[in-house]
Structures are given as structure tokens and as C-alpha cells.
């Protein structure tokens, strides 16, 4: 099997158009090099390139759109992000304070409070919507920390073999061995309670996976002849890493990113569940924790317990689906074939 093992950017296009071949192919081979026609003005070349990129994007979109689960994930995600960003437009923060909440204690769902109220009389729906802001922020930022660190370490370790790689990988191995949850719990306990702490705790503990993945991909890329060619052309480390390795590990990173966001959101809720969250901010994990400490589970106050959990699950799922879909788009090997 000789499937192209690297992502193709534009599947909208077929292979070399057959129409271009005959004229040139039929030319006598010994014909002296024809004077090159004047090159077209650079602007048009750039425009062409831009056009190409656009088409590549369209192709990417089309390929992605073929994955229905991925589209569902993307849709759900978009919905959550939009709702979270727009939350202040339709939710009055005053209603989310513990002293100024409008409702009564643990009111069951009603027209006014579609998901009922919590102990302070706050609308659970509003809380969940508002909680998306923190939960998504944590998810994104923690993932950024994790992926940035992991990518840097992974590429450097993968590119520079030998001692460098060894040292970095020993460090990574050492981090990999440390149980993530335990580490995060310990870090969150050590640092002051805040959203930033959670972000750091998650980010710092999850990068080794990314690093390993990126390193593996880097090594795979480094083994390709075009790296050798770049070196033979005189390219240095930076050239190779930036121009060749990075673009080729990007799909991996992107797919990994979406997977980690989901994990981070779950991790945030887990830390909150273990009492390590920041109770003064409203996040899904925080709501769950509040619901749990209020005994909502066993008191039949399902409207307090279910929505944040479902929200976490849906967002995590959405990201996971996006991640898988991206993986599929970027890695033709994963595409359905044969």
C-alpha cells in the first residue's frame, strides 16, 4: 500500500491535469532550453497563492464536512462558545449573586426557571450558561499551556537527537510517570485557589503526552528524505524545524489540542469535585461541586446535578468529535478506504 502518509491540503483537486502533459511531453527531448517567458507579475502569483489557500481551505472544509460526527461536534461547540460569549447580553449578573438572587431555594424547573434554582435561588440555567465562560476559558488556556509546552519540548527533543533528546525525554518520561490527577491535585493544593491555578495545574501535568506525540511525529518527519534534502541544501536547525517539521506536526497538534480541551474541562470539574476549585467563580465543575455538597443527588434535586454534568459531557464530546474528525482529515490513513 502506498497511501500518501502525509496530509494533503487540498483534496478538492485531482491529480495532475492530464491536459497539460501532451504538448510538453511530445517535445523532442534534446531541444535546447527554451528561453523562459517573462515571469508573471508577483502580485498575481500572490493572488494565485491566496486563491490556492482559499481552495485548500474549501477542500478542507468539504473533507471535514463529510464527517457528520465532526460537524455535530463543531456545531455544538459553536453554540456553546456563542452562548458563553453572549451570556452578559441576556443574563443579569445580579441574578447570579448569592444575596440578590431572584428565586426561591431549590425551586424545581418552571417556566421562569427552566432548570430550577439552586440553594440561593439562582437560576441553574443562568449558572450553567455563565459557567461555560470559565469552563471554556480554563479548557482553552490549559490546553494552550499544555500544547505549547508539549510542542516545544517534542520538536526540540525530536529534532536534536542524542543528548538533547535524551535529557528532554528523560524529563518528559519522568513527568509522564507522575500520575496526572495526583499531580494536578497536589499542585492545586499547593497554589492559591484560583482559576489560574487550575489552568496551570492542568497545563503542567498534561504536556508530556503532547510532547511524546509531537516527538514521535517529529522523528517520523525527520526521517523523511526531504529533511535530508533541506540539510543538503544547507538549511540549519531553525530552518528545518520551522519550515519543515512544524508544518508537518501541526495537524497532530491541532487534533491533539481539541482532544485536550475536552479533557481539561473534565479535569477542571474533577478538581472542583475534589474541593480544589475556586468557589467564587462560577464554573461547571463548581456548580457540580455545589450541587454535590448540597446533597442534590440524593435529594432529588436533579435539575442542579444533571445540567452541569451534561454540559461538561457535551462539550467534551464535541471537542473529542472535532478532534477525531480533524485527525481523520489530516491523516488520510484514517480515512475510510478500500
Amino acid at each position: 500500500m502506498s497511501a500518501p502518509e502525509l496530509p494533503r491540503e487540498d483534496d478538492g483537486e485531482g491529480a495532475a491535469p492530464a491536459g497539460t502533459v501532451p504538448a510538453q511531453g511530445a517535445a523532442p527531448v534534446h531541444e535546447p532550453a527554451a528561453p523562459t517567458p517573462p515571469p508573471p507579475p508577483p502580485a498575481s502569483r500572490r493572488a494565485l497563492l491566496w486563491e490556492r489557500r482559499r481552495r485548500a481551505l474549501t477542500g478542507f472544509r468539504r473533507e471535514y464536512a463529510r464527517n457528520r460526527a465532526g460537524m455535530f461536534g463543531f456545531g455544538a461547540l459553536l453554540l456553546f462558545v456563542v452562548v458563553a460569549v453572549a451570556a452578559p447580553l441576556f443574563i443579569d449578573p445580579a441574578g447570579l449573586t448569592v444575596t440578590g438572587a431572584p428565586g426561591g431555594r431549590f425551586e424545581p424547573p418552571s417556566a421562569q426557571y427552566p432548570l430550577g434554582t439552586d440553594a440561593f435561588g439562582r437560576s441553574v440555567l443562568d449558572l450553567v450558561v455563565w459557567g461555560a465562560r470559565i469552563s471554556l476559558t480554563v479548557g482553552f488556556l490549559a490546553t494552550f499551556v499544555c500544547v505549547a509546552l508539549g510542542t516545544l519540548v517534542g520538536i526540540v527533543a525530536g529534532h536534536f537527537g542524542g543528548v538533547w533528546s535524551n535529557v528532554l525525554m528523560r524529563i518528559t518520561d519522568w513527568f509522564v510517570v507522575l500520575p496526572t490527577l495526583v499531580m494536578a491535585v497536589a499542585l492545586a493544593a499547593v497554589m492559591s485557589r484560583s482559576t489560574l491555578t487550575i489552568i496551570i495545574a492542568i497545563g503542567v501535568t498534561c504536556w508530556p503526552t503532547t510532547a511524546r506525540l509531537v516527538r514521535a511525529q517529529t522523528i517520523a518527519v525527520e526521517a523523511r528524505p526531504y529533511i535530508e534534502r533541506a540539510r543538503a541544501l544547507g538549511g540549519g536547525h531553525t530552518h528545518v524545524m520551522l519550515r519543515h517539521v512544524l508544518p508537518n506536526v501541526t495537524p497532530v497538534i491541532l487534533a491533539q489540542t481539541t482532544l485536550i480541551v475536552g479533557e481539561s474541562i473534565i479535569m477542571e470539574s474533577t478538581l472542583a469535585f475534589l474541593g480544589l476549585g475556586d468557589p467564587s467563580t462560577i464554573s461547571w465543575g463548581g456548580i457540580l461541586q455545589d450541587a454535590r455538597t448540597a446533597g442534590a443527588v440524593s435529594s432529588g434535586i436533579w435539575w442542579y446535578m444533571l445540567p452541569p454534568g451534561v454540559a461538561i459531557a457535551v462539550v467534551a464530546l464535541a471537542f473529542t468529535l472535532c478532534g477525531r474528525a480533524l485527525e481523520g482529515v489530516f491523516n488520510p490513513r484514517l480515512r475510510e478506504r478500500r
Binding site: 440553594a119 440561593f120 468557589p279
Partner: protein, 575 residues
Amino acid sequence: AGTDEDSGTTLTVAVSQPADSLSPFLAQRLISTNLHRLSYDYLTNYDPATNEPIPALAESWDTSDDGLTWTFQIRDDVEWSDGEPLTADDIAWTYTKMIEDDAAATANGNFVANFESATAPDATTLEIVLSEPQATMLALDIPIVPRHIWEDVENFGEFNNDEDFPIVGSGPFVITGYEPNQSVTLEANDNYWRDPPRFDRIVFTTMPEQDAQVEALRSGEVSLISGLTPAQADALEGEDGITVNNATGKRFQAFTINPGAETQDGEAFGDGHPALQDRVLRQAIMRAIDKDEIVENVYGGYAEPAEGYIPSRYPDYAWTPADDQRLDFDVDAANRMLDDAGYEMGDDGVRTSPDGDRLELRLHVHNDRPDYVSIGQVLTERLAGIGIEIDNQTVDPGVLSDALNSGDYDLIMTGWSVNPDPDYVLGIHTCDALPEEPGTMRSDAYFCNEEYDELYAEQLATYDDPQARADIVKDMQAILYEEAVVNVLTYANTLEAYRSDQISSIQVQPDPGGNIWGQDGHWSFTSATPAGAGSGAGAGPSAGVLAGVGAVVVVAVAGGAFYFWRRSKTSEDRE
């Protein structure tokens, strides 16, 4: 079909923590001290109804005039569960061990800190000599252990008393089984010198998850649970076969204000906000807080708004302020007080003290106490109403105690469980309780008031006149209230529930309105009466086992059958 001990009645109690040790010298957790209440005898006990000390091993007692020598008459009809007689010598030996061996003093050393000696001149007499008078002499919560067993123990710091079962004791129950972290089983001691217990067996089973406890109660797996949340109490309230016990609280919830941390020598330290040294500000803070709101929203109504330092469950000591003294919720009044005292409101809604410090205060809250966390949120918002900005820091208890010790705090949540004898909780606010040097704080407030100290000494001296002592204690509470350093917010109720179809009656303490779990004494468990025959919790699970295992098997078989059916159906004509 699960148990081979189907005979007899079993009372199953869910507890949220496993026992830390079965050794009375080491055990510190509530569950463990309760176990010891049931399996050992004490010198005295507490009246189930009134909480007053009553005779137990000691039938009667005398005090010398200087209050330093105590002579107890010990019962002569008590036997250890292995049949040996329990004599004064066992008691003297237990106390002496604690005096002499630091390891043995780990758990209850504070009771014997003032002991010069404990001797048994004869089998029924115990003599204790003190170095200074001690108010807790009738509340010596020290389990008495059998000398003939414990004499052989080499290292009290490491012996956990969990090797030979049943464990020899003299209490109404005998510990017969112990699964670390899971359960402790006790059998009734039919020879107990008081009324023997009515249940044949008690099992304490560990369930840290509150919700799991409630579900276990519902399914009949356990008979008694405690520490319900208000929502759970509400939910269980109307359920068949379940009785909710709403007991007055033994605990108060409070916050203390850092009035400027100082050592005993008057050396100031820490970085408490300077404006908090002003009593006006502290009182204004109190007036900004709506205790009813906390009662309602945080405790779902299962609490009382509080003023005095001693919970109302102890009516002798409970105190309420006179009308002109009250620092009731009144935001306008609070704002006026601050305006008058020169705290100017800034443009951003935050006041500045006369000395020019912005009123931006930290509030430290325990992250492991959900009620505190909620109170913290309420305080934060309420104080904003009088121009105080709160930095709400919900932290690990460790962090919190670090902040307290180093005086680096402004407001800090706290709360104490108050014993029938309030000496200890009062004592921690004397000037003596201030640290000798920065960082060695043991109390929860840097409070030092001469008048309070004098009253404290006075109440110590009048322990033999309860009424007079109670009056003094109330005066002390008035000082605390007025100084507004230690600010009591509520007395939260203790919420418990039991299966009334398994337990027909059970003693609460105090009676009425008292709690079942965590009593001073063993009354709840000795008084608990089984309801009907064979309704012990043991019956529930075995049916459940069959049903559960059956369900799993059915699912597995069905799944497997489906799998193979599909496979055989599709395998032939495929490629």
C-alpha cells in the same frame, strides 16, 4: 445468604470517616471516640437529657478544699468483658500511663496535663492530685482500659489495639470485628452493669460520600446516618420508614476579625488590615450581615441566627444581647456608623479608613466546609454593601491555619463544637492564649481583654456554683459580642435520619431536641430499640446480592448470545 450471623438484630450506622485507631490513647477522630464510648467505661458520664455529668465508674466523688485533690468512689460490680473485675487500679493505671508516657497522652493528654498523680489506694477508691484546679474533672473523657491487657503493650505510640478480637473492654458493647477503612462491628455486652443494649449488634460502616449514605439509608442498607445537608433532610422528611432528627446544634459558626495580631508580650505581627483595630468598623461589619439570610439560604432554615458564644442548646449558658446592645442587620445603620467614624466612601464604592487605607479585606474560608464557603460568598456580597471589598479566599485548611498563625489575615471563618462544659472554648480567648511568639497561635482570634480574663478566672473558681458560673459566662459572652472580634453567626442544626422501620425508638441528647450521633455518652446506641423482628439491615443485601448478580448475568448472557447470533448469521456469506 450472605451472613452466618443472621441471628439477632443489627443496627448499621453510616459514618463518613474510617476509624483512625482503636487505641483509646491514639484515636482522635469522632468515630473512634464514639467507638470508645461504646466499648469502654469512663469515670463519669453525661446525663442523656441534660448533659450534666453523672456517675459512671465513679459512684461519687469528693474534692479537697483547695480543689487539688479529688477522691472518687469506684463501683465494685463492673467486670471486663473477659470476666476480670474492673477496679480503681485499672483507672489509676490508665491515667498514670498517660501522665508518664507521652505516646499514651497523644489523644487525651490535655485532661491529665495538670495531674500530679492518680493512685488507687484500694479497689474502689481513686485519688487524683492536681497541680492546679481543673474545671473538667467531672468531664474526663478518658476511656479506662484493662491494665491486665495493656500492661504488655510496649509502645503506646504504635499499638493500635486491633490485633485480638473481641477487644476487652467494659462498655455496653464489645468490639468484635474491624475491617480497616470499611467497618467496625460491635456486639452487645449482656453483662453491662447498666441496662444492656437492645440491639445485639452495631456495625459502623464507612461511607464518605454523603449522597451514598442517604441512598444507603433509603435502600435499607444502613439504619442511621448523620450530617445530612438541609436539602437531604427536606427530601427524607416525608419518606416512609424514615425519621429525620433535627437536633439543635452543638456548634457555632463564626468568623473572627484580626484586631491586630500580637504576642503575649504585646509584640505586633502579621499584616492584618490596620483599620480593623477600630471597634466601630468591626461592629459595622456585623451590622452589615443578615444572619437570617444565612440561616435561610445556607442552612435551608435548619439553623438559628446566633449572638452568644455558647449555643442555645445549653440554656444555662446561652446568652442573648439586650435590645440596646444588639448589632442587628441594618445596612443604613452600618453605613452611618462608618460615615460618622470618618470612613469615606470612594468613587468605586469602597471606603477608605481615616488613616487612608482602602477597606479591602481578605476573607479566609475553609474549602472543605461547604457551609463556610457559602457563608463566605454571602459575606462578600453583603460587605460590599457598606463599602468593604472582600477578597474571598477559599483555601485548604492548612493554608488557612498558616494565615491565622502568622497573623496574615483580616477575616477568617471559624467555628467550635461546644462541650457541656464551656471552659475550653472560653479559655482560648484569654490573653494567655495569645502566642508566646509569632506563629505559635493555637486559638482562632487574637483577642485579649482584661475584663474578660478576670471573668474567666472567676468562673474557673466558681465551678461548684453552676448558677453563678453561668452568669459569669454570660458576661464574658457579652464582652465578646461587643468587641466584635469573635463574631458568631449561626448555630446550625445537626441533621440526622434513621429508619423508623428498623429502629422504633432512640434516645437523643439533650432530650428533647438533641442529637443521636456524636453524643457525650453512649445513650443513643444503648437505648435504640429494634422495630419488629428480623428487620435488621442484614436481610437487605442478600436479596440484593441475588438480584444484582442475576442482573449482571442476564446482561452478560444476553450480550454474548446476541454477539454470537449475529456472528454466525453473518459469517458465511461475507468476505
